[in-house]
C-alpha cells in the first residue's frame, strides 16, 4: 500500500481515531500501532511481516544476553552479525552469487550456486540500522531493556519502516514508554508538511521525472550536451523532492501520532562543501554512519592517513547500502574521494577557508559535484553512466539547442541564488496557519491539495529510497 493512496488515507484516518481514543492508555496505543505497522507491512507481502516478526524475536532474545549475561560483548557481536547476515543475504545474495560463481568457476570448481529468487523485504536496510542502534545503546547502557513489544514497535514503526528516517533507540524507546501520555505537537507544521509532501512527491518530482529525467537520460545518445546537463539537474531536483517529500510526510505522520523522529534534510543544495552536504542530505543516515562506522573505526583519532581511510570505508559502505552494484560503490567512493580532498585542502589552507571566502562559488561547485555523482546513482549500469558522461562531452556541436533546455538550465543558478531565502519558509507557513480559523481549514487544505493533484502527472508514484 503506497502512502499516497486512497487506501492508506482511509485506513490511517480510521486508525487515527481509535489511536487517540486510547490516549489514556499508551500501552494500548503501542499495541494498536504494532498491529497497524505489521498490517501495513503485510499489505505489501505477508512474508515480510512474518520475517520481521521472527527476526525481532531472535534479536530480542540475543539482546537479553547483552543485559543479563556475563559476556555482554559476545552477545553484542553475535546479534550484530545476525542482523548483518540477514541484511546481506536478502540484499546482496544475487549479486554475490554471481560474483562467487565466477570466482569458483575461475578456480576450476564446477559448482553451481543456485539462483534463488529472493525478494527484498521492505524496510530491511532501515530496520537493520535501527537494530544496531538498539544493540549498541543497550550495550552502552544508554537505554534500559525495553519490553519486547516496544522493541518490536521500534523496528516496525510504520513512519520509519519503509524508507527511514533512521531513528535511534535512545531517542525512540523513551517516547514509547507506557507512562508518557502523548499529544500532538506542532499541528500547524503537520499540515504544512503534508501538503508540501504531496506537492513535492506527486507533482514536482513526478513532473520532473516524466518530462525531463526519463526522456533525456534514458536516451542520452540523442540529446545535446546541454540538454543532458539539464536532465541531470532535473534528476538532482527530482531525487531531492522525492525523498524530502517522503520524509516530510513521515515526520508529519509521526507527529500526528505523538512522536518526534529525526529530520533528514536541511537545504542540501545550499552546502558549501561536500562535508557540509552530508550534514544536510539524508542526515539520519550520515549520523548513523558516523556513529556506528566512522567512530568505531577510529574516526579522526589515529592520524591523518588513517582518518582518510576511515572516511573512504564509511562512504563506500554508504554506497553499498544504497544499492547493489558497482555503480553505487563508485558513487560512494567519489564522495569519499571528495571528502578526502576537502580534508587535504583544509589542512593546507585552513578549515573551510575557501568556502567561507567564496560561498557562492563553493555552493555552485558542490552542487555540480553532487550532480556528477548522481549520474552514477541514476544509471543502472556503469556502461550507462559512462554513456551519459561521454555524451555530455561529445554532443556539443549541434546547432539546435532547444529553448526549453536553456530555460531550465538558467533556472538552476537562480534557484541556487534564491534558495537561502527560503530557509524559514516552512516555519512561516506553519505560523501563518494560526491566522486561519480551524473550522475553515479543511476547505483551504482541500483546495490546495486538489490543485496539486490536478497539476500532477498521472499515477501513484513510488518512493525511490524505499528500494534501499
Amino acid at each position: 500500500m503506497s502512502y499516497i493512496s486512497i487506501e492508506f488515507t482511509i485506513s490511517f484516518l480510521i486508525f487515527f481515531i481509535f489511536y487517540w481514543l486510547a490516549r489514556p492508555l499508551p500501552r494500548l496505543q503501542n499495541t494498536l500501532l504494532l498491529f497497524a505497522s505489521y498490517g501495513l507491512l503485510a499489505s505489501f507481502n505477508i512474508y515480510f511481516a512474518i520475517h520481521l516478526f521472527l527476526y525481532t524475536i531472535i534479536i530480542y532474545v540475543l539482546s537479553l544476553g547483552i543485559v543479563f549475561s556475563e559476556y555482554p560483548k559476545r552477545y553484542l557481536l553475535t546479534s550484530i552479525i545476525v542482523a548483518l547476515i540477514n541484511l546481506f543475504f536478502f540484499k546482496y545474495f544475487d549479486f554475490s552469487r554471481e560474483f562467487f560463481q565466477d570466482f569458483l568457476q575461475f578456480a576450476g570448481l564446477d559448482v553451481v550456486i543456485p539462483a534463488i529468487e529472493i525478494i527484498l523485504p521492505i524496510g530491511i536496510s532501515y530496520y537493520t540500522f535501527h537494530t544496531i542502534s538498539y544493540l549498541v545503546s543497550l550495550y552502552r547502557e544508554e537505554i534500559d531493556l525495553p519490553p519486547i513489544d516496544s522493541f518490536a514497535l521500534f523496528l516496525a514503526f510504520f513512519p520509519t519502516l519503509v524508507a527511514g528516517p533512521i531513528n535511534r533507540a535512545s531517542k525512540m524507546l523513551p517516547q514509547l514508554a507506557p507512562h508518557r501520555i502523548r499529544e500532538i505537537k506542532q499541528i500547524n507544521l503537520v499540515y504544512v508538511l503534508i501538503i508540501l509532501a504531496i506537492a513535492k512527491k506527486l507533482w514536482l518530482s513526478a513532473y520532473l521525472s516524466d518530462n525531463w529525467v526519463q526522456p533525456i537520460l534514458m536516451s542520452s545518445g540523442e540529446h545535446h550536451s546541454l540538454t543532458i546537463i539539464a536532465g541531470i539537474y532535473a534528476y538532482a531536483l527530482q531525487i531531492f523532492l522525492d525523498f524530502s517529500g517522503y520524509t516530510d510526510l513521515m515526520i508529519a505522520l509521526a507527529l500526528l501520532l505523538g512522536f518526534t523522529i529525526p529530520i533528514n534534510f536541511n537545504m542540501p543544495y545550499m552546502a558549501i562543501n561536500i562535508r557540509d552536504f552530508w550534514r544536510r542530505w539524508h542526515i539520519s543516515l550520515s549520523n548513523w554512519i558516523r556513529d556506528y562506522i566512522y567512530f568505531p573505526l577510529g574516526g579522526s583519532r589515529h592520524g591523518f592517513f588513517r582518518t582518510q581511510m576511515n572516511v573512504m570505508i564509511a562512504m563506500v559502505l554508504s554506497g553499498m547500502w544504497h544499492g547493489v552494484g558497482l555503480s553505487f560503490i563508485i558513487w560512494g567512493a567519489l564522495h569519499g574521494v571528495a571528502i578526502i580532498i576537502l580534508n587535504i585542502t583544509d589542512s593546507l589552507f585552513g578549515k573551510e577557508r575557501l568556502a567561507s571566502k567564496y560561498p557562492y562559488t563553493s555552493r555552485w561547485l558542490t552542487f555540480h559535484f553532487v550532480c556528477l555523482t548522481w549520474i552514477f546513482f541514476y544509471a543502472p549500469t556503469l556502461t550507462d553512466s559512462w554513456n551519459i558522461l561521454t555524451a555530455i562531452f561529445t554532443q556539443m556541436l549541434w546547432q539546435t539547442i532547444p529553448i526549453t533546455t536553456l530555460l531550465f538550465i538558467l533556472i538552476i543558478p537562480i534557484l541556487l541564488w534564491c534558495y537561502p531565502l527560503m530557509k524559514n519558509t516552512i516555519n512561516t507557513l506553519a505560523n501563518g496557519l494560526n491566522y486561519i480559523p480551524w473550522i475553515i481549514r479543511p476547505i483551504i487544505f482541500t483546495a490546495l491539495l486538489l490543485g496539486i493533484i490536478l497539476l500532477s502527472p498521472e499515477g501513484i508514484p513510488a518512493f525511490i529510497y524505499a528500494t534501499f
Binding site: 518530462n211 525531463w212 536516451s219 540538454t227 543502472p380 481549514r441 501513484i460
Partner: protein, 418 residues
C-alpha cells in the same frame, strides 16, 4: 471533555473533513482506480445518483478542462517540427476527455489517484518507473521543441536502482546481449483453441518501406520493449515510429483507457503508418464492466469473450482498412498462477482472431525461457550463464528480456528498399 483533548478533536475534524471533500472531488479517479485494482465497481458509485454527490465529479471535470485548455496545444503545434509521438498523444489525451457520455467514469489523465501500478500488486517490482509512462518530453507550459533533431523518443526506465518504487529489485549486471538465433517456437497444441474457419496462410514477416511508420501500442510490457525496437528501426533504417503504450491499460477497462478508439484515432491521423505492434494482456483477465450497464461480465464467460473478441477484431479491421499490417504479441507466462491461466486464455483469443485476419501472431511464451514451459525468471545465455529476464514482480521484463522480445519483433519486419 478534557482540555487537552480539544486540539485532538480539531485535528480529527480537519483530517476527516478534508479527506471527505477530497474523496468527493476525486471520485472519478477513485472509481477508475478501484475498478482497475479490485476488478469490481467502486462502492462510491452507489452514491452517484445523489445530485449533490455528482457535483463533485462535475467540479473536477470542469477544472481539468480548464487546465487542459487547447491554447497550449496551439503553441505546441506551431513550434514542433514533425508529427511525432508527443503530438499524437497530446491530442489523443485531449480527445479522450470527450468520450461518449455513457461512460461516466471518464478518467482524466491528471489524476494522482489513478493507478500507476498494475492491478497485480506484487512486491519486488522495482520498476514502477517503467509504468510511469511519459508521453511528451515537454512541460505543460513551455513551447515544445524537439529535444534533438531526431524524434523525441518516449521512453521507459530500465532497471534503475534508485528509481522510485516501494518494492525492490535485484539488479542484474549482466551483459545485455540479445539471444541470437532464437527460433520461432511452435505453439503448444493445448494453447491453441480450435479455429472454426479455415486458417489463412499467415505471412512470415511484415514488409514495410522506409517511409512508413510503425505504431506501438500496449501496456507496460510494451513500454519496456518498444524503445529497443524503435531505436533499432531508426538507427538502421531511419524509420520513424509512434509509441503510445501506457501502463495499466488493456482492452477490458475501456473507461480507463480505450485502445480501440486510440488506435482508430492514431491510424486516421497518421496515414503513413504501415505496421501496428500490439502487446498487452496482463491487465485484462478480470471481470469486465458490461458495456450495456449492469453487473460486471464474468471473466471467461461467453458474454465476456464476445465483447473481448469484438475489441480485438475491431482493431484488426481498422488496421486492414488503413492498409496497416499487424504484429500481435502473445503474453508470456506469469509467475502468479491465476494470472498465468488468465493470460494463456487471452492468448488463445488473440491467436485465433489474428490468424483469421491473416496478420502475424508472435508468441512470447517460449521466447524468454527456451523450450521449457511455465514461468521462469531466468534464461540461459549462449555461454550457459543464467541471466534474469523477468523482474521481481513476476510480470515485467528486465532489460535483457525486453531486448530479446524486441529482437524477435525486429526479425518479423522486413524493410523494403524504396
Amino acid at each position: 471533555m478534557n482540555k487537552i483533548n480539544k486540539p485532538i478533536f480539531k485535528v480529527i475534524y480537519t483530517l476527516i473533513i478534508s479527506g471527505a471533500l477530497l474523496i468527493w472531488l476525486m471520485q472519478d479517479s477513485i472509481n477508475a482506480y478501484w475498478t482497475l485494482t479490485y476488478h469490481q465497481q467502486s462502492p462510491l458509485v452507489n452514491l452517484s445518483h445523489y445530485k449533490f454527490w455528482q457535483l463533485g465529479s462535475k467540479i473536477h471535470q470542469d477544472l481539468l478542462e480548464a487546465i487542459n485548455k487547447p491554447r497550449w496545444k496551439i503553441l505546441d503545434k506551431s513550434l514542433s517540427v514533425k508529427v511525432t509521438t508527443s503530438e499524437a498523444t497530446n491530442e489523443d489525451n485531449q480527445d479522450n476527455n470527450n468520450v461518449s457520455s455513457n461512460e461516466k467514469a471518464i478518467i482524466k489523465t491528471d489524476s494522482a489517484l489513478t493507478t500507476a501500478t498494475p492491478p497485480i500488486q506484487d512486491i519486488g517490482n522495482k520498476k514502477d518507473i517503467t509504468k510511469t509512462k511519459l508521453l511528451l518530453p515537454s512541460p505543460l507550459w513551455a513551447p515544445k521543441l524537439p529535444l534533438t533533431d531526431c524524434n523525441p523518443s518516449s521512453v521507459t526506465a530500465p532497471i534503475a536502482n534508485i528509481e522510485k518504487t516501494k518494492k525492490a529489485i535485484k539488479k542484474v549486471e549482466q551483459p545485455t546481449e540479445l539471444a541470437k538465433g532464437k527460433k520461432q517456437t511452435i505453439e503448444k497444441k493445448d494453447e491453441t483453441k480450435q479455429i472454426t474457419k479455415r486458417p489463412k496462410a499467415t505471412p512470415k514477416t511484415v514488409v514495410i518501406n522506409k517511409k512508413q511508420m510503425v505504431f506501438f501500442a500496449g501496456d507496460s510490457m510494451m513500454q519496456g520493449v518498444a524503445p529497443h525496437v524503435r531505436v533499432a528501426l531508426r538507427k538502421k533504417y531511419g524509420i520513424r515510429s509512434i509509441d503510445l503504450s501506457k501502463q495499466s491499460t488493456g482492452l477490458t477497462y475501456a473507461s480507463f483507457f480505450d485502445w480501440p478508439k486510440t488506435v482508430k484515432k492514431t491510424l486516421q491521423k497518421h496515414k503513413d503508418i504501415g505496421l501496428l505492434v500490439m502487446f498487452l494482456g496482463p491487465n485484462d483477465p478480470w471481470n469486465m464492466p458490461n458495456p450495456k450497464g449492469g453487473k460486471y461480465l464474468k471473466f471467461q464467460s461467453s458474454a465476456w469473450e464476445k465483447v473481448y473478441r469484438d475489441k480485438i477484431r475491431y482493431i484488426l479491421e481498422l488496421a486492414k482498412k488503413h492498409k496497416v499490417q499487424v504484429i500481435w504479441l502473445g503474453v508470456p507466462d506469469m509467475r502468479k498462477e491465476k494470472l498465468n491461466q488468465g493470460v494463456r486464455y487471452l492468448n488463445t483469443l488473440y491467436q485465433s482472431e489474428i490468424k483469421k485476419a491473416g496478420d502475424i501472431y508472435l508468441p512470447t511464451q517460449f521466447l524468454l525461457t527456451g523450450k521449457t514451459a511455465g514461468y521462469s525468471k531466468y534464461a540461459m545465455t549462449d555461454s550457459h550463464k543464467k541471466v534474469a529476464v523477468r523482474t521481481n514482480d513476476g510480470i515485467h521484463f528486465t532489460v535483457t528480456g525486453q531486448k530479446k522480445i524486441a529482437h524477435q519483433i525486429l526479425s518479423k519486419i522486413t524493410i523494403k528498399e524504396d
